[in-house]
């Protein structure tokens, strides 16, 4: 039997504190996730700084849908499906580019304005008396109608109806706010292309790991532990702790450290580690950045911004931002057992280069396919993807620190090594898999 024949049966695969292996390994469950969950939720598309000028575009995907984000002639940002209305050819294939005032299809030269409307068709009289005006093609490139640009972060929801942007994210937007506020000018800029790291595992394993404070001291003993050891040996000859040591060594912090860091959850699957402090709390500033912030915001407000050291904030379903180090990771599902992770970095506009240098270093040390930290993470996810094929036990366990009655308040706090945020994600998974009244699995 396929879950596609009875879509609502997938809701039985997730309990309050366990998840059946099929939500990780079954292709038909993955297909339902793409057709429902990823259409019913607000998905991160890109950042406005990627398309500063009119005609600039950025091409990407939302679930399995090719889309592009473009700056229209009136400066507004549009998200369009990346296909020619005529016969389906993708209109752009570069990741970033400038299309001028129009998109032109390389196949039959149909042209579109940058809001997607059809501009021209060569030798148009061939379409007289064929009811062209009633066709899908005549409508031009389809625009995603639900787009929200929140302080230059562009999100889209493919399905009409359902939850509004503000309600979906609620107070969790405070993590994005904090990352932006860390710029003395209150502005971020994407720098360079993202790292692209391919994993042979389900996308949820990666998202779950973002708030898994029960693994670093185990999985990363081999990398962070070794840096610590080598640094202990070397440091007698050196005054300053190298940036790389500051970035990696905190991963070896003991259980008690992570327990006290705390986890905060919000409604609809969002949450973050590092409520009280985090592995990012103790970065050295030798650049004058802190003074610059006090100048820009006043002492009190600057301290408030900089003392917020949230570690990882998960925006359900597939985004993570790390405010204190200005990185963003997008977990793009490609199949039940394939996930592409993109890791982006931002410049705090107006801040000294030292901060960008640390951000770029952090990204390559932790998020790259060449990362000694990432290697062991990938190893455990992929072992799980294979191990889940054992049929005797078909369940993933998420009971750590589960005392019942979760997800009631708008915001809840837990000891840091809890699996509460994973349970929170699964509650959202069930909530957004099908809109109310739509458990048929048939798209409108």
């Amino acid at each position: 039997m396929s879950y596609l024949d009875n879509p609502s049966s997938v809701l039985n695969l997730v309990t309050d504190d366990e998840a059946h292996r099929d939500v990780y390994i079954a292709e038909d469950v993955y297909e339902l996730e793409m057709n429902h969950l990823f259409r019913n939720t607000w998905i991160y598309v890109g950042h406005a700084s990627q398309i500063p000028n009119k005609g600039d575009y950025y091409s990407t995907t939302i679930s399995d849908q090719p889309v592009l984000m473009v700056r229209h002639t009136d400066e507004t940002i549009h998200v369009l499906y990346n296909r020619c209305a005529h016969r389906g050819t993708k209109l752009v294939t570069d990741i970033h580019g400038n299309t001028g005032k129009t998109f032109r299809c390389p196949y039959h030269a149909w042209t579109y304005r940058t809001d997607g409307t059809l501009l021209g068709v060569p030798v148009r009289d061939g379409y007289e008396d064929v009811s062209f005006e009633n066709s899908f093609a005549s409508k031009g490139m389809t625009a995603v109608s639900n787009v929200c640009v929140y302080r230059e972060f562009v999100f889209a929801k493919l399905q009409d109806g359902g939850i509004e942007f503000e309600e979906f994210f609620g107070d969790s937007l405070s993590s994005i706010d904090n990352m932006i506020d860390r710029s003395p000018e209150g502005r971020l800029e994407v720098v360079g292309n993202p790292l692209r790291y391919m994993h042979h595992c389900n996308w949820k394993m990666l998202v779950e790991n973002q708030t898994d404070s029960f693994h670093p001291m185990v999985v990363h003993e081999s990398s962070a532990g070794v840096v610590k050891e080598i640094w202990e040996d070397m440091k007698s000859n050196s005054n300053a702790t190298p940036m790389a040591v500051e970035c990696i060594v905190p991963f070896t912090s003991p259980y008690s450290f992570y327990e006290k860091m705390g986890i905060r959850t919000w409604q609809n699957g969002h949450g973050h580690t590092g409520v009280h402090f985090s592995i990012h709390s103790d970065y050295t500033d030798t650049s004058g950045y802190v003074d610059q912030m006090k100048e820009a915001y006043g002492k009190e407000r600057a301290e408030e911004i900089l003392n917020e050291n949230r570690h990882n904030t998960v925006y359900f379903p597939n985004l993570m931002v790390k405010g204190p180090i200005q990185t963003l990771r997008l977990f793009k599902p490609l199949a039940a057992d394939r996930t592409l992770v993109e890791s982006w970095i931002f410049r705090l506009v107006g801040a000294p280069d030292m901060l960008l240098e640390r951000t770029a270093m952090y990204n390559r040390l932790i998020n790259a396919p060449t990362s000694i930290v990432g290697h062991d993470d990938a190893e455990v996810y992929e072992r799980a993807q294979e191990g889940l094929h054992c049929t005797n036990n078909q369940w993933m366990n998420f009971q750590r620190h589960y005392f019942g009655e979760e997800g009631v308040a708008p915001m809840e706090e837990f000891p840091g090594t809890t699996e509460a945020q994973m349970r929170n994600q699964f509650r959202a998974w069930k909530k957004f898999m099908f809109l109310v009244g739509d458990q048929s699995g048939v798209q409108a």
Binding site: N193, L195, S222, I230, R364, T370, I372, E379, R383
Partner: protein, 159 residues
């Protein structure tokens, strides 16, 4: 001491062999104290520190990699990876004894294998070498993958 083109070519070929034979302690000795191993993320990248790279590592980080590879709890190396370099004949771009500046350019194919997976990478490596105590040392090794910006699986050893 006058270095010839043959000396420089030999150095690059010997370095690749050390990596294939996983003689890492010996390999680390090839770097100067401030030596750097750089693998850019973007094609033709010129910025070293203010944008993302795949690797930009000093001796501290290179030593960490080497030590980690043999760790008992290095799960991604259980079982271990193997690698093989296939080098085109290196071309010597610069021999400048006065400024102690030697440059070698080497196209390569590189295979890394672990469990049942085998990945092929192709690209170009550029060695910037200097003479130190009568031995050639690596000041900068830059590795440009032909598909540096593609999605990659784990690359765990050294190209």
């Amino acid at each position: 001491m006058n270095l010839t083109e043959v000396d420089l070519v030999d150095f690059v070929i010997r370095e690749a062999r050390m990596l294939d034979e996983q003689q890492y302690e010996e390999w680390l000795e090839l770097f100067t104290e401030d030596g750097i191993y750089w693998m850019p993320l973007e094609f033709g990248q010129t910025e070293e520190k203010l944008t993302t790279s795949l690797m930009y590592e000093d001796l501290l980080l290179l030593k960490t990699r080497v030590m980690r590879l043999s760790g008992k709890r290095t799960y991604s190396q259980l079982p271990k990876s193997r690698c093989q370099h296939l080098l085109q004949i290196p071309s010597v771009d610069k021999i400048d004894a006065t400024n102690n500046d030697y440059r070698v350019f080497t196209p390569f194919h590189y295979v890394e294998s672990r469990n049942d997976e085998k990945e092929l990478y192709a690209g170009w490596m550029k060695h910037s070498l200097i003479l130190e105590d009568k031995r050639l040392k690596i000041k900068l090794k830059r590795v440009d993958l032909v598909n540096c910006d593609s999605p990659h699986r784990n690359i765990q050893l050294f190209i």
